[in-house]
Symmetry: C2
Subunit: 202 residues, 2 copies
């Protein structure tokens, strides 16, 4: 593989191997697969990748990925229901959208507070969130951060920062996931589910 | 995700999900990762993908993937040692090259004989292999096909086709892989290793 005419191929394999979920071995397989399907898969993929690399950007309002300056969720009047759901990453926003249960808008922090990594409130788009609470007449902020230490710390920080605005603040319920078996759940989840137990409907 | 400005993103995710080893979920992660690293990873990857899609082709002589008409292995006089190693796929050629133990040239069949799938001797580049035996003064053909039923059937077919040329024909040894534990090996491998047992060096 140290031959000259393969250096581009090797460079491509190395780049593919940097993708999450792929390693050197699966990157080789993926590249060979693509070259075999050059017309039906490789060329469409390279064109679309180039196109998205040129056009995808963060929505100026909420931080969602969009090909427009303001994403379609922020642009839609239907989504202006007075609710903002605060999430860590765009992937969390997509997960919420897949559930199809949320009709409001989002605010993507782009991470969690991390003084050691120099990630402060500005990096998390906090000033913009405060502006939006007045400009979009928000009544409820749903803090849908991950149930990790970092996520919950950040949620508490945001709750403190927004306390003076008088906006209602909620978080996602914690408990047993749908389909979850108690035997396979960690102690923390069982404790949380027990503390937050609800009366059975009669 | 049904919003208009995301259709390109979704198309890209669908294309990535078709790669071997990736599914819808890991394709989403990979695309988000790329968009986050637009300048350092996404743009170089899209450029290299376009470049390779335009330049990669099958070597006219052996079927290896190359950016030249004749791959560097076929072009190298050093590799003309009278040996041709016949492999099923380019990935097998790469695996042989990684071992660094083979100094001859290759012949990539591009699959195995499969009458049901309409893969006959011509599709496997057999005529070209016969030509090469004379034109490259080949003394030994190493049949390095996979140790599967299809691979071995194809190996026997090739051996029959080349019998009249008088060229020496060998196959890879079968046995216990290096580092292999007997307890985890299948019966077929153990049987093959036992039949092909060798005297201990003294």
């Amino acid at each position: 593989m140290a031959t000259d005419d393969l250096s581009d191929l090797n460079a491509l394999i190395e780049m593919m191997a940097k993708l999450p979920g792929l390693g050197p071995r699966s990157a080789r397989r993926a590249v060979l697969h693509l070259i075999k399907k050059r017309d039906t898969q490789m060329q469409p993929l390279s064109r679309m990748l180039t196109h998205v690399a040129e056009t995808a950007r963060a929505c100026l309002n909420c931080g969602n990925i969009s090909t427009l300056e303001v994403c379609s969720i922020c642009a839609s009047e239907k989504r202006a229901n007075g609710q903002i759901c605060v999430v860590e990453e765009v992937s969390d926003l997509w997960a919420m959208e897949r559930s199809g249960m949320f009709g409001g808008r989002y605010h993507v922090l782009g991470g969690t507070l991390s003084p050691l990594d120099d990630i402060g409130p500005e990096a998390l788009r906090m000033p913009r969130l405060k502006d939006r609470i007045t400009s979009e007449a928000v009544q409820e902020v749903i803090l849908a951060l991950n149930a990790t230490v970092d996520g919950q710390t950040t949620a508490h920080y945001i709750a403190g920062e927004l306390a003076h605005t008088g906006v209602a603040m909620t978080t996602l319920a914690q408990g047993v996931p749908i389909g979850g078996e108690l035997d396979y759940l960690d102690d923390g989840t069982i404790s949380a589910a027990l503390s937050a137990r609800k009366e059975m409907p009669r």
